[in-house]
Subunit: 208 residues, 2 copies
Amino acid sequence: MTNLRQRQQDILEFIAGFIDGHGYPPSVRDIQEGCSISSTSVVDYNLEALSKMGYLKRSKEISRGIELVGHRSNKTRIPLLGSVSAGQPLPVFPEDHRFLEDNSIEVDPSFVEQQSPVFALHVKGNSMIDALIKDGDYVVIRSQEHAETGDMVAAWLIQEEETTLKRFFPEGERVRLQPENSSMSPIFVDAHNVQIKGRVVGVLRKYK
Amino acid sequence: MTNLRQRQQDILEFIAGFIDGHGYPPSVRDIQEGCSISSTSVVDYNLEALSKMGYLKRSKEISRGIELVGHRSNKTRIPLLGSVSAGQPLPVFPEDHRFLEDNSIEVDPSFVEQQSPVFALHVKGNSMIDALIKDGDYVVIRSQEHAETGDMVAAWLIQEEETTLKRFFPEGERVRLQPENSSMSPIFVDAHNVQIKGRVVGVLRKYK
DNA sequence: ATATAATAAGAACATGAGTTCGGTAATATA
DNA sequence: TATATTACCGAACTCATGTTCTTATTATAT
């Protein structure tokens, strides 16, 4: 039985690898060859078993009709729209959410499972250091134009033409943009000069 | 010609939707039906055009041999192997990297572009708070058994049967596992009682 | 041991599905 | 207007590919 699970293990891994490599699932014969199995019927047999165990779904009579469960092909690739200054407001924020192929990062699908679009920004500066977000991190933003008091948001300063990452506090005619860095002071701007671009829903950091 | 691009646009969108919905690409006839096209040859014609324009790749003589470019099917899905205590060493770390379908998260492909396998751990506790890693974060780990002095690692304490997230400092016969939390003390363990499971290469956080 | 079920093999079958080809319509070019 | 180019049709062709059937090998249990 140890050898039993082995074969199905092999098959699963082969399928996953094949899909990653080709972009489409393997045929029964691809699997047969890839796993050194003598007969297509054996593949069929094990695929059926794996299917019943819930590891994959099969579409009858459909070529390559295999879908690995939990292997959701939902790319969850989100566009990387630019950078935000977390210190002094600095860089630009292009309005065009156009397909910036290659300028994108992949994130956990749960980020995107909502309605509004999601994108990422590269953080410059350490104004949100106390929120454990530092220079070089990526923040995942969900597009929305309104924010609750205290939300961490990407705000577009119209006049300055800059995007900044701060906590949002409306105060009558003006807005307080509060950094999370005890050594930095809040920024006060006219409410008409601020446009909320979205709320921070995630952080992503890469170590070298 | 406006109507021209329209058809190819339709086809592209149909393919993307089909893949997301089924987990495998559509056949020529699927596209024909889905886009209300009169003949399979028309589909073939336009697929060839799209292929030449670089929108997709086709595998000759292969059923459903369509791969959308930029739609990189490289899942970059990495297994979520469990949790690490970042405070006191606490939970378990199953040795079997077996297929824990559903227990996985997706990350930026650049995390995985290396050689050794990569997996994720759910962080429990705040021992790495000064490294801006907090309770609830996910750390992305690259499997490796050796670590450089000062590396942030997931270490398996053999005797305690626990995984812990600390910085690694070998000190002769023993090893100092240093938390990044000014209010916590390092742990000293016998060198033979420590097994490096991997090095932290990324952090992922989700906000509610 | 012997029965029974679980796996594996091999081959043949049926059809899903990519491709080809002759021909037409629409558009562009001369 | 003539002619080339591009886009579309239909149908047939051929092979890729899922499925099934029969017969060997194992396992597992009684």
